[in-house]
């Protein structure tokens, strides 16, 4: 429907509204008034949404931060979470190693023969209980690990969707995104040995 036809239709409705008001047909007048106002509001709302969508797409196209998030920051955050997962797992295993060595010692103390003072047996029993508690507490690694894996998964999905969106919104003007990990000096040093080697190479 073109603009002329639309204007004519609204004018017809307005005339009908005046006629029904003059005739005292209030219900009909109310319905016509709502129709007129509604049609108008819908048009305004559609216009606003179109503008917002346009602005959003435009800002995606021009905002290099969005594609930097997709290509750099999110993968980096995921890598860090993976590192947390590995480190907590390692720590939990170290604790379990110690507990596995400690439990038989505690059991031996708890079952010591009659020559030992009773306090030794009691201490052995208590030590056994405490070591069991430490063992059970390591289950945090499973629970937090599952949560971290889920966050890694979700952020991977987010990263893919953002990358698609950036691709669809068109090429970004300006410089290519800098990859922090590829920046000279930005790679992670693995362990104290590498730190020492680096420092000694620098004459320390």
């Amino acid at each position: 429907m073109n603009a002329v036809a639309r204007r004519k239709e609204r004018l017809d409705r307005a005339r009908a509204l005046v006629a029904s008001l003059e005739a005292g047909r209030d219900a009909e007048a109310d319905a016509l008034a709502l129709e007129l106002a509604g049609a108008d509001q819908l048009g305004v709302e559609l216009g606003r949404m179109t503008r917002e969508l346009h602005d959003a797409l435009e800002s995606l196209r021009v905002d290099p931060r969005i594609s930097e998030l997709a290509s750099n920051d999110i993968p980096d955050a995921r890598e860090k979470l993976g590192w947390v997962l590995a480190l907590t797992e390692q720590a939990a295993h170290s604790v379990i190693n110690a507990v596995e060595q400690g439990l038989p010692v505690a059991s031996r103390l708890a079952a010591a023969d009659g020559d030992c003072p009773p306090a030794v047996r009691e201490d052995g029993q208590r030590l056994h209980e405490l070591l069991s508690e430490i063992l059970m507490a390591q289950s945090f690694q499973d629970l937090t690990g599952q949560a971290i894996r889920r966050v890694i998964e979700v952020s991977g999905e987010l990263e893919r969707r953002l990358a698609e969106l950036v691709q669809r919104a068109g090429p970004r003007p300006g410089a290519a995104p800098k990859n922090d990990a590829q920046r000279p000096g930005a790679e992670r040093i693995q362990g104290q040995d590498e730190v020492d080697a680096l420092l000694s190479g620098l004459g320390f």
């Binding site: 797992e89 939990a92 295993h93 379990i96 507990v99 596995e100 439990l103 069991s132 063992l135 059970m136 390591q138 289950s139 945090f140 690694q141 499973d142 629970l143 690990g145 599952q146």
Partner: protein, 129 residues
């Protein structure tokens, strides 16, 4: 009594193994998901299965269903130890024929209690038959 412990987290497998040893079970093997566990179970070498629910590959609930559908394994006692605590999941596990269900984090006492209950029931069923 030979037991298979299935969990994708090696820390949790070690915790459960240690607890089972404390209760007196010595022959314990591990698998990291249902796909690894299933061929091990089919050898018929296990008398008891302890499994997690949420694992990559084959989850615990599918492993349980496989076990219940297998002519030689259908009566194998299965204990589920999982962080999944939604009512519908517990109902699903019960309907699939689980013998016990423990929600993580759990205590050594809870594990002992559930094991006692499972074996008491099996004992009662065998005595009745």
């Amino acid at each position: 009594m030979r037991i298979l412990v299935v969990d994708d987290f090696s820390t949790m497998r070690r915790i459960i193994k240690n607890l089972l040893r404390e209760v007196g079970f010595q022959h314990i093997q591990e698998a990291d998901d249902g796909n690894t566990a299933w061929p091990m179970l089919q050898t018929g070498e296990f008398d008891f299965l302890v499994t997690d629910w949420n694992m990559p590959g084959m989850p615990g609930i599918d492993l349980l269903k496989h076990v219940r559908a297998h002519p030689q394994l259908k009566t194998l006692p299965v204990l589920m130890v999982t962080a999944e605590a939604k009512r519908e999941q517990i109902v699903e596990a019960a309907q699939a024929g689980v013998n016990g269900y423990i929600v993580k984090p759990f205590t050594a006492e809870t594990l002992r209690e559930k094991l006692d209950r499972i074996f008491a029931r099996i004992g009662a069923t065998e005595a009745a038959s």
